[in-house]
Symmetry: C2
Subunit: 312 residues, 2 copies
């Protein structure tokens, strides 16, 4: 998807999504993947409070504003992944995604675990990254779901944006035998406050690299979908892609606008990796991985003593 | 390094390694990385027993056969990583690597955790992969070492071959703040028994892909070094490379023979990743990773019930 500006109406954005859905269905797709926070602009880039903030969240899913997407998908016999800001009836907020099957039922739900950014706004900055303020950490783990016959009983999992850079997220899905991971993202193309950091080409390379490698290391298909382009004065990378269980790109977006990529996904291609190189039961050594779940941060080794001291 | 045939003498192989060491030192290297099982052919490809097997192991390190490498490196002021088959004084066997500093002291030792292949030979196969028979699983974890001033106090870690495909190994090093990972490998280029599986190009792609992505995801430099080429009728991929903390290739081998790659490694390039995107303390969520250390193998989700059953 191309960018969605703050000034765009919900109806306008939904019309674009319906148009993409129609194009995909016409090209034979049975699953359509939309990006993270697909219905709105990436609002964590601003400090917003009260009702002005609440307008970006979905109160219930589906709800009247998005119902046409559910309805049209069911008529077309297409299911979809979509990311959105979730406000629960208990008032809790998550960066969420769902898988909706071709019956129009919600097959699975995921709440983003790896929230980037900060809780406190950066003083004086024009653009923020306030995901840690606007969302709680996801509390559903990384659940895998067994699809029905319309998706050939695939074992499917979801991630959202930053999650794809964390091999732990992939491995938790891999340990459930995942065969297809859907990821939506909104990733900065540059520092919108003018800092000199990685350029858009390097950031797109990073995104594609982690998608390919984690697909291979878990012998899974991946569909990774960007919201891309210049959005309210802040740039987002593109690089939407479909990656096979060998880590090879089979389709890659060519633009930063609305664009449909289609590929046939042969789930049997997962078997070579899952049964041999990445036969986890035969080759993983969890007793050597303890530190991965024991602590979050880095503990560096001590400074080495000079030779004389070591020998004394 | 190019291949080392079964018929090659130890002296011949050591002469090749000394020659590579001299070339690297002449080009300004302070650290030279040799491959896995650098002193011998990749002997786990055969079923061997008794003394015929023991000849492939190093009894003590250094020992008279390899002492010239230690001596020459110290004279040149160069340290090195080298992989070899270790037979301890207690009779235990490991696929091992060491880091030797420019004082000629062993800074660190690592024993391969992710042993591929099988314990039992495959009946009727001309070539085997018997690492699980010839070695015990490494019992030293993935330790990181703080180097001395000759390597700018870098935090260094080691892997051996198959380890590089396992993100858990990288993460355990990453959680120690690793800035430079050395990996030696002997990876099959094709099925030597004639099976139709991945070709050499795909296998080299896999090797490079995991090296680049895990370097990026842990914001570390990586030096990955192959024993390559046709060795005793069985092919080994090349693809030796030096990768920066952004996952970019900065040097890549062009041949399957003896070849020296040299690069300047700026350890400060690790800081951008370690302090921001991969600030582990700020962004990792270990409470969601439990399954990674709880079990080795896959547990698939239940088959989804048909719609009618779910609604009943």
């Amino acid at each position: 998807m191309g960018p969605t500006q703050k000034a765009d109406t919900r109806e306008h954005t939904l019309d674009r999504m319906l148009n993409l859905l129609e194009q995909a269905a016409a090209r034979g797709a049975s699953l359509v993947v939309f990006p993270e926070l697909a219905f709105t602009t990436f609002f964590p880039r601003w400090l917003i409070e009260g009702e002005a903030l609440d307008q970006y969240y979905e109160h219930g899913m589906p709800n009247p504003a998005v119902q046409p997407l559910f309805d049209r998908a069911q008529v077309l016999g297409v299911g979809f992944y979509v990311g959105y800001a979730e406000l629960t009836s208990e008032g809790r907020r998550y960066n969420c995604s769902i898988l909706v099957d071709s019956d129009g039922e919600i097959l699975g739900r995921y709440r983003k675990v790896h929230l980037p950014g900060s809780f406190e706004p950066r003083a004086g900055a024009r653009y923020q990254q306030l995901e840690k303020r606007y969302f709680e950490y996801g509390n559903l783990g990384f659940p895998a779901f067994r699809a029905g016959p319309d998706w050939h009983h695939a074992i499917m999992g979801m991630m959202i944006c930053n999650d794809r850079r964390w091999p732990e997220a992939w491995r938790v899905l891999g340990l459930q035998g995942v065969e297809l991971v859907c990821v939506g993202y909104n990733s900065a193309a540059y520092d919108p406050n003018g800092g000199v950091t990685e350029d858009a080409a390097l950031r797109t390379f990073h995104s594609t690299l982690v998608t390919q490698a984690n697909a291979y290391m878990n012998a899974s298909w991946v569909i990774a979908v960007a919201k891309a382009g210049e959005e309210d004065g802040s740039g987002l990378i593109g690089g939407s892609c479909i990656v096979d269980p060998n880590g090879r790109l089979v389709a890659e977006a060519q633009t930063l606008g609305d664009e449909v990529l289609v590929a046939d996904l042969d789930l049997d291609l997962c078997r070579q990796g899952k049964d041999k190189m990445f036969n986890f039961a035969a080759h993983r050594r969890p007793e050597q991985y303890a530190v991965i779940t024991e602590r979050a941060g880095v503990v560096e080794p001590a400074v080495r003593q000079p030779l004389a001291a070591r020998r004394s």
